[in-house]
Every structure is written in C-alpha cells, then in structure tokens.
Amino acid sequence: MRSKVVLRRLFRNPQARYGIIAFVLLVALAYIGPYFGSYEWTEKDFMAFLSPPDADHWWGTTSIGQDMYAITLRGMQKSIVIGVLVALIATGLAAVVGAFAGYFGGWLDRVLMWGVDLLLVLPSFLILAIVSPRLRDGSWIWFVVLLAAFTWMITSRVVRSMTISLREREYVQAAVYMGIPRWKIIFRHIVPNLSSLLIIDATLNVSGAVVGEAALSFFGFGIQPPDVSLGTLIAEGSRNATGYPWLFAFPAGMLVLLVLSVNLIGDGLRDALDPGSNS
C-alpha cells in the first residue's frame, strides 16, 4: 500500500516527526489547555490589570484584566480553525478549477484561466481589508471564504498543467472509452493522481492562512472584537511590547511555533510523497 509506505517514510523523517509532535501538542494545548486554567477567556479580573505572569495568572493579564493564558489559547483555537478551513477550501478549489480547465481545454480553460489571472491582479489585501470589517456580526466564516478565495490561484495553474499531461494517459483514455462521464473521470482518475501535490499544498496553505489571518487582524481588518485571534492579540501586544512584554511574547511565540510545526510537516510530507525532489 502506497499510503503505508508514505506514512512510514513520514515518521522516519525526523523533521516531520518533530513537526507532527509539535502540532499535536499545540492543538492539544489550544483545546484542552483552557480546562486547566483558572480563568475563562471572557472573564475579567478587576483586581489584576497588566499584572506580569505569576502563579494565579500564568501568562499575565491584559490592560482590562483578561487572563493572557485563556485568551491566547482562545485566539489559537480560532487561528488553527481558520488555517485548516482556508487550506481545505483553497486546495479543493484549486484542484477542481485546475483539473476542469486542464481536462476540458478550449473555451472553459480560457475563461477559467482568465479568471485566475484577474484574481491574481486584483488587490486582495484591499478587498479583504474593506469587506471583512463590514461582516461584523460574528460571521468569521465569511472571512475564511474570502481568505481562501485569494489563496488558490497559483496552485490551480500547476494542477492545470499536470492535468493536461495526465489527460493523455492510457487509464484515462480507457475510462473515456468505457463511457464514464467526464466529471467522474476528473474526480476518480485525475484528482487522486495529483494527491501528493494537493496534500503538500494544503499543508503549506495552513501556515500561509494562519499568517495571513494574523497579518490582516494586525491592522484590525481581520477577526473583529469581541472575538480574538493570534493576530489581534499580537497587534494589541505589540503596541505595549516594550513595557509589558508578556502581552506580545505569548501570542507571537504561539504563532511562530504553529507556523514552524506546520512547515516542518509540509516539508516532511514532500520528502515522503515525492522522494525524487529535494526542494
């Protein structure tokens, strides 16, 4: 079984092993950690404003008395969910659009690729910055959709060119002569054969989306209060980072660890799925 071989290779690769361990630990910290803390993320401790880390508030408190430990973990949950969702949507879209454009060719190809070019030229930062603060009523899911809509284009170009070469393979031709509908061929024969590319792409998209969300939230264009993400926390922390370093250090450290672990997994996956490449 190929998947077993790949998994074995993945776990033999020390980079990927550390990446997976770190990522699992971080996810566990984000979702199980809050049960061990003594404060809720919505709670405000009016006896402790801007107190440095101590036994009561493990990671210190903010200027309005929120517990940094609780609120950072809450932000991390949101960042992880956003990263994974954006990666799934973006890679899925890239696979579908690229495979259809490459397989059918002709006018469909031209229209889709023209759309890709257009999206590449469109000022994604501007559109996200203008639209996302207007989705105030808690619908961060729209933010995810927007972020994904500006992530998938380059991969879909790669998928398209790979599909064009897959289209001529014997097993695809055989499926055509057996009378299987075209869309079924794409999902059953073309996309699975691109899976290594897509898995790697999705993994790297996770870290890309986590950073992208944090970047937009840094300017107040992403996740809107009262909701928090690592980006909003870093933005707030960096304003007072010299006097109250714990406000900046914990969310920024978590963000870097998260991105680092996902990148390690992505690199390890590439080695495991595509042993010929050394990139």
């Binding site: 000022p123 559109i127 920024a252």
Partner: protein
Amino acid sequence: MGKYLLRRLAINVILVAVAASLAYMLAATTMNPRGAYEGRQPPVPEAVIDATLDAYNLNDKTPVLQRYATWASGVITGDFGKTWNGGSVNDEMGRRVWVSLRLLLIGTIVGFVVGVALGAWSAVRQYKISDRVIGVSAFVLMAIPVFVLATLLAIGTYNLNRGLGFTLIEYTGEYNPKLAGWDQLMNRLNHLILPTISLSIGVSGAAFYSRIQRNMMLDVLGQDFVRTAMAKGLRRRTALIKHALRTALIPSATYFAFALGTMFTGAIFTEKIYAWHGMGAWLVDAINANDVNSVAAVTFFAAVCVLAAGFLSDLLVAALDPRVRVS
C-alpha cells in the same frame, strides 16, 4: 517579437484597468468620506459638506457611476483626483514612492545577495555543520511573520538604547528634520538600519532566497557541465561561480524581479511598524480614512508594478538562460 510585446501590453493595460476600476467601485460604494466632515464641532452645514465633497468628487449623493466616470476620465489624463481633505493624490504619490524606494531598495537587494550567497555556499558544503546551521536558521526565520520580526527588532533596539543610556540605533521614523547636511545623511542611514535588517533576513529576504538557491545549486552541482568545466582545468571556484551559480540563479532571479516590482506596495508592515510614510502605509491609512481616490490610486500603482515585475522577470530569465532566447 514586436507583435507579442504589443499583445502582452494590451492584455496588461486591460488587467490594470479592470483592477483599478474594481478597486474604485468597491471603495466608492463602501467607504464614507462624508463621516470625516459630519461629526465636527461646530457642525458644518450640509450644503457646505456637499459642495466640498463635490469638489473632490467624493459625494455619496452623486450616483457612483457618474463619480466613476469623472474619476476614470481624470486617470486617463494622468490625474488621480483629490484625497479626502483636498490634497492632490498625484503629489502625495510622488512623495511616497520615493519614501518607499529609499526604505526598500537596499533591504531588497541585500536580502537577495545574502540569501543567494548563503544558499549557494551551503549547497557546496552540503551536510556539513555550516549547511545545517544555515538551513535551520532559514527555516526558523521563514516561520516568523514580518510583523513579529519587526516588532522583536524594535523591542531589542529599545532595550539596547535604554541600557546604553543614549540612542545608538533609531527605531521609528525616516529622519530627524532638525539636522542638516552630513548629520542629516548619517541620521537617515541610522534610521534605515532596523527596517533593512527586518526586510533582508526574513520571509521575503535572505531566508527565502537561501532555501531556493540551495536546492537549485544542488541540482546543478551534480550535472555534467560543471564536471566538464572542472575537468578542463578551471579552478573550482571559477567553475562553481561562472558555470554552476549562473545557471542555478534563474529561479531566484525570477523571484527577485517580482520582489523588486512589488517592493513599493509590499512593505506595509515594515512601513507601519517603523513609521515610514510610504506607499504601503498609505494604503492602510487611506482605508482607515475612507479616502476613496487614494485607495484607487495605490491599487492602480500596485497593479502596474506587479505586471511590470512579471515582464522584468521574463527579461531576466531570458538574459540568464540562453535556451529561452533561442525558442
């Protein structure tokens, strides 16, 4: 060739027009420049506000298509309109482009040169300690977003300055307007140190280029033409630099061309964190100030830059790779 260039130019013009028009429409329909005038004390009469906004082509009572027509006919003659408080967008842009250039040119080039040099060197010394150290530090730096790195550097400098008791390295602004002549120049260079470091070592600089360069160099090192070059008696250094590095430079050079093109609007974080008033910072400020015409102008400029960068990268590849020129 001429026909190809013309076709390409025509497509690019259309793409720029579409991008800028969409940005204008989006900004004009969602932003509210009126708000900046309405809340004032003492209150401004509505007729005055209308007249002012009309003069700037920002009045939300005018149909958006009509405003768009006014704006577009201005842009065709090279006039990007007025900012929300009546300044000329063209003047503002003319000033800010140079700020961005002064801030970013050195950092972008240093990042590329250092990254390529380190990448090539670590490929030659594959699996030795120096290769591992470079690889691991590049990997870690790649995981640190620009805004975290820039803030970390600023905190470090703040503490350093406080520890020393005087300002050794500046960490905010572009220059000190009180100084003149030679002192002014030194002051400007001092202000450049931190932004240049944060630009050149991080995700968009040396860390990124060194990873690409190392991989490409490893591919090339095993190939026949490098062995031939050494076999015919070239010194190792000459063979590596003239034959291997030149070929292996093509992908990083492509990225570098893009980086040069997108440099003007790409450094939003560096500009905002170190308080330089360049093009990137302008976009954020304009969005926050509901400044429709400025937003459209930055978008226009960015689209032109991206497409020019694509063209530049094709030229660079053609210059480095004879195979492209032949076909």
